[in-house]
Symmetry: C2
Subunit: 210 residues, 2 copies
Amino acid sequence: MRTVIVAAGGQVDHRVKSYISEADLLLAADGGAASILELGFVPQAVVGDFDSLDPDVVSGLGECELVRVQREKDETDTELTVRYALERGTDAITLLGALGGRIDHTLANLILLAGLAKKDIDARAITPPLAVYAVAKRLVIQGTKGDLVSVFPFQGSAEGVTEIGFKYSLADAYLDPFAVVGISNELASSEGIIEVRKGVLLVFHYHNEK
Amino acid sequence: MRTVIVAAGGQVDHRVKSYISEADLLLAADGGAASILELGFVPQAVVGDFDSLDPDVVSGLGECELVRVQREKDETDTELTVRYALERGTDAITLLGALGGRIDHTLANLILLAGLAKKDIDARAITPPLAVYAVAKRLVIQGTKGDLVSVFPFQGSAEGVTEIGFKYSLADAYLDPFAVVGISNELASSEGIIEVRKGVLLVFHYHNEK
C-alpha cells in the first residue's frame, strides 16, 4: 500500500500531481490539506492540531477524516501523519511538501525518512526536480545520464556501500558520518543502483528538467 | 582565531556584515567571493576551482590569495576552504551562505560543521534569522524569550544531553538518531545552555526579528 503524505513545509505544485493520483492512501499533515485541495484532490484524512488550517479548507474537505491532536506535543504533524499511515499497514511512504521550508523541519523530515527505511518501509520525499530516498538495503533509481546524485551516510556510519551506474563508482565502501565524499555524483546512464549493508543512506536525485 | 567563510550556496545580505567585520581571517569559498565584495569587504583568500567566479570579481579581489583546486574533486569548495582555515590554526569557524541553497549542499555543510565540533572547533553557520551550531560539549546561546530552538542528535546518537533555560528541559537524556524529539523548543529567557556528553548535536536557533 503506497501512502502519499502532503506536508505544509515546502512547495507543492502541479509537478507532484502524478504522485498524488497514484496514492492508495492520501493524507495531509495539517496545513498540507490546503495544497491537496488546490491541486484538485481530497485527502482521506488530515492529521494535526489544525492550528494552520483555514475554515474554508475544512469545509472543502467533505467526508474526510479529521484526526485532531493536542497542540503541545513532541512530534511534528508530519511524524504523526506517518504514524497514522503505519498503523494502517502501509509499506511505502512518499512525502510531498516536506523539503525546502524551515531547515530544522527539513532535517526532521529527513530523519523521519531514515527511520522509516530502518523499519523496512520504502521511504522518499519529492520536491521536483529533487527526489530524496532513505536507503537501508537497496535502491534502483531511474533518470537521465548526467543527473546529479548525492549520497550521504545518515545518522551514523554506513558500511558495505556499493554504487553502480554512476560516473564515480563505489564498491563495498565504508562511509564516515563526518566526512562528505558522495556529493554531486552523476548518473552514467538511465539507471543507478545503490546498496548498503549496514547503516542508512540518504540519496538526493536531481532530475534534469528539459 | 575566528575564521569566517562565505560560501556560494545561500543568501548573504547586510545582516551578516557584523560577522564579517569581526573575522580574524575572512575566506571565500569560490563564488562566495562575489557576495563578500558586494558587502564592501575583501577576503584574504579565495579557495575553489573558480568555475563560478566572474572575471569582474577576480579583478575586484586585489592582492587576495587565490587557491585554485582542480575541478574534479571529492570535496566541496566549502570543505576545502575549511581545511585551509584549519591549516592556519583557526579554532572557530563561522559559515555564511552555507544554508538554504541546494538541500544536498546544505546537508553537506551541516556534516562539515558536525565534523568540526568533533575536532573541538567552535563551529556554526549563520543565515539570519537562523544560527546553526554544532555542539560536541557545551553551548550557551543568547537570544530573546520565545526564540525557537530545535536540537537534533546528528550523525549518530547523543548521550548525556542537558538543556537548561528552555520551555522544555532535558536532563542527562539519550537522544535516538532516528526519532525527532527536540523540534521547536523555546528559550525561556535570554539565555539557554545545551550540553552533550557523547555524540554531536545540531542546534537551530531562530532569532525573533522585531
